[in-house]
């Protein structure tokens, strides 16, 4: 469990996923990637295997959110593990691509 801060960078402890917090929920949150709690980008990963139940992967440039919409995580580097909060998988934030305006 950790308190997230918008703008901070995280990574998976068990795969190559790198993340940035876009929207942080209030209070402690149990954010996992590949089934293991995420760690600071600069921290050393203890290693381990990706949990088969959390193995749909992260896609670069996609934003992941929950149903309540109070958390949003940007994938800045892809990996095998997938994101979850409290065991519930986060979904890709579906957004219709906008036409380029600049």
């Amino acid at each position: 469990m950790a308190v997230l801060k918008a703008g901070s960078r995280l990574k998976s402890a068990v795969c190559s996923s790198e993340l940035m917090v876009v929207v942080a929920p209030e209070g402690d949150v149990d954010l996992t990637c590949g089934g293991a709690p995420v760690i600071e980008l600069t921290a050393d990963a203890a290693g381990g295997d990706v949990d088969p139940d959390h193995k749909t992967g992260t896609q670069m440039g996609k934003r992941y959110t929950n149903e309540a919409g109070d958390i949003e995580i940007l994938c800045t580097k892809p990996g095998e593990g997938s994101l979850a909060v409290g065991g519930t998988a986060l979904e890709i934030k579906g957004a219709k691509p906008l036409p380029s305006s600049d």
Binding site: A6, G7, S8, V22, M60, G61, A95, S100, S101, D102
Partner: protein, 510 residues
């Protein structure tokens, strides 16, 4: 959050793609990343607190934008059309800092600035020297990573100052990164996509274009000085797929293509326009000349980190093919707010929310909205709303129609009148090419309505005929009491009508 993170993602995912191209010179995404790191190292001297660039677009421009973000130094692109005295006041707000400029300007400013004993300036370089330092073989990147503090200032942009002295809008990392994440799909561009950039760096669309392009993975072809023939030639030669122009540019392009069956640019998929009011005749003609091109009209302000509302390609087609006048009218709207933006219309005097169809002040809210000027703090209200000072209304479908700056509102006998409303009526007259309505001092009413008309070539209309034209369509209080005829109206180089100049001339002539 930091713009550098967006570039890092781009360099990681498609580092070999060309990012920026100027003439024959190019930077790939990886080279742009490396050069930004080297510039960041150069800027991290413990003294440099601003990086100002006074020059046209060049490959040094994206390096400066990202290198400054890496170093945590605000980047300020300055208007190179300003005179030296006008620049003095801007430069005094950017100290201690570094100035990058073209050799001619450096020769004039250099003596005053470089090595100045008061130490206000760290140094002055030419743009070419800056780029050479950043690209030097063996140059190493700044060792420390960029800050992820989202409140760091990324860009300082002096607003064009159509009223009053220029002031610096503060765009923080969170505003620009939110804008990109909310409106651009990462790597959304095809490998062969190319966008033609002719908006000057000191315009918000120029800055937004750089950061958006990087995230989408597009190749940006820089065109430092716009002419219609060279725009057309470059678009054809480079198979340009995307471009953004201001209304005066599109108007010149359309004129230049006069007599041709179509524009001859089959690769051009998306043409975006914004930055001022597009005459309906120009966009209609453009849609004929570019049959395979999708059009997008964007509305945004410096203070909102560029685009907040879009009239997309489908909206253009629907409007043009509809028999319903309410839908057809949407061709002159700025479309609907981005999904990440809220727009509200409020009463000019009470600031109470107004329903659809009623004219008032446009308020906006969203993560990308800065609404902050240096030294003046944030102008957002307690709930995060920013008063754009633009007037307008929303139709029943949520389409936003602009009616000009509320600072330009004419107040006659306590009645607020939008110049845009009067101009729109004048522009529907078959002899009128362009129109500007302003308030002139009036003893009885406080202000009276006056209008300056540019007639179409070979057409004629008298002042009384035009007065009657307005009177038949609007309330009589909105009828111009004075009409002058000019050969052309004054616009700035990005297509903004300079009402101040019209007002000065009309008031001076009394």
């Amino acid at each position: 959050m930091n713009l550098m993170m967006l570039l890092e993602m781009a360099a990681g995912a498609f580092g070999d793609r060309v990012a920026f191209q100027n003439g024959d010179d190019r930077l790939t995404y990886q080279q742009l990343f490396d050069a930004s790191g080297a510039l960041a190292a150069e800027l991290s001297d413990g003294r440099t607190q601003h990086l100002a660039m006074l020059d046209e677009s060049s490959l040094a421009l994206p390096v400066a934008v990202f290198g400054a973000s890496w170093a945590g130094v605000p980047f300020a692109p300055l208007n190179y059309r300003l005179t030296d005295p006008e620049l003095d006041s801007l430069l005094s707000q950017l100290q201690p800092g570094r100035l990058v400029t073209e050799p001619g300007r450096l020769a004039r400013l250099g003596d005053k600035i470089d090595g100045a004993e008061d130490g206000h300036y760290v140094s002055v370089h030419t743009t070419g020297d800056l780029l050479a330092v950043a690209r030097a073989e063996g140059a190493s990147a700044r060792e420390e990573p960029w800050s992820m503090d989202m409140d760091d200032t990324a860009i300082l942009l002096f607003t064009s100052g159509t009223t009053g002295a220029p002031k610096a809008a503060v765009l923080r990392q969170k505003h620009l990164v939110s804008y990109v994440l909310g409106s651009v799909e990462f790597m959304g561009a095809d490998e062969n996509d190319a966008s033609l950039s002719c908006v000057p760096p000191y315009h918000i669309a120029g800055m937004a274009g750089i950061v958006s392009a990087v995230y989408s993975g597009r190749r940006v072809i820089q065109m430092p000085s716009f002419t219609a023939p060279s725009w057309i030639e470059t678009a054809r030669r480079e198979n340009v797929s995307h471009a953004m122009v201001v209304p005066t540019m599109l108007s010149r392009i359309v004129d230049e293509l006069e007599g041709e069956k179509d524009a001859g640019m089959p690769a051009l998929r998306n043409l975006a326009y914004g930055g001022g009011k597009m005459p309906q005749s120009v966009i209609e003609k453009a849609m004929e000349l570019f049959p395979g091109t999708s059009f997008t009209n964007a509305y945004g302000l410096t203070e909102t980190s560029s685009t907040i509302s879009l009239l997309g390609p489908d909206d253009h087609r629907d409007a043009m093919s509809s028999d319903d006048p309410d839908i057809r009218r949407r061709i002159v709207s700025v479309g609907q707010p981005l999904p990440t933006i809220e727009v509200g219309i409020r009463d000019v005097d009470t600031e109470e929310a107004l329903p659809a169809g009623e004219r008032g002040l446009i308020f906006v809210r969203g993560e990308q909205v800065s609404g902050e000027y240096r030294g003046k703090g944030s102008l957002l209200d307690d709930e995060g709303w920013f008063n754009t000072r633009d007037g307008g209304y929303l139709d029943d479908g949520g389409y936003l129609f602009l009616e000009g700056r509320m600072d330009d509102v004419i107040v006659r006998g306590g009645e607020n009148m939008s110049p845009g409303e009067i101009e729109d009526v004048l522009l529907t007259h078959e002899s009128v090419a362009d129109a500007c309505a302003i308030g002139v001092p009036d003893e009885q009413w406080g202000e009276a309505v006056a209008a300056v008309i540019v007639l179409k070539q070979g057409k004629d209309a008298s002042a009384s005929e035009l007065q009657q034209w307005v009177k038949d369509r609007l309330r009589s209080s909105r009828t111009p009491e004075r009409i002058d005829f000019w050969d052309e109206l004054p616009y700035n180089e990005t297509g903004k009508l300079l009402r101040r100049k019209v007002r000065e001339a009309m008031r001076g002539g009394e």
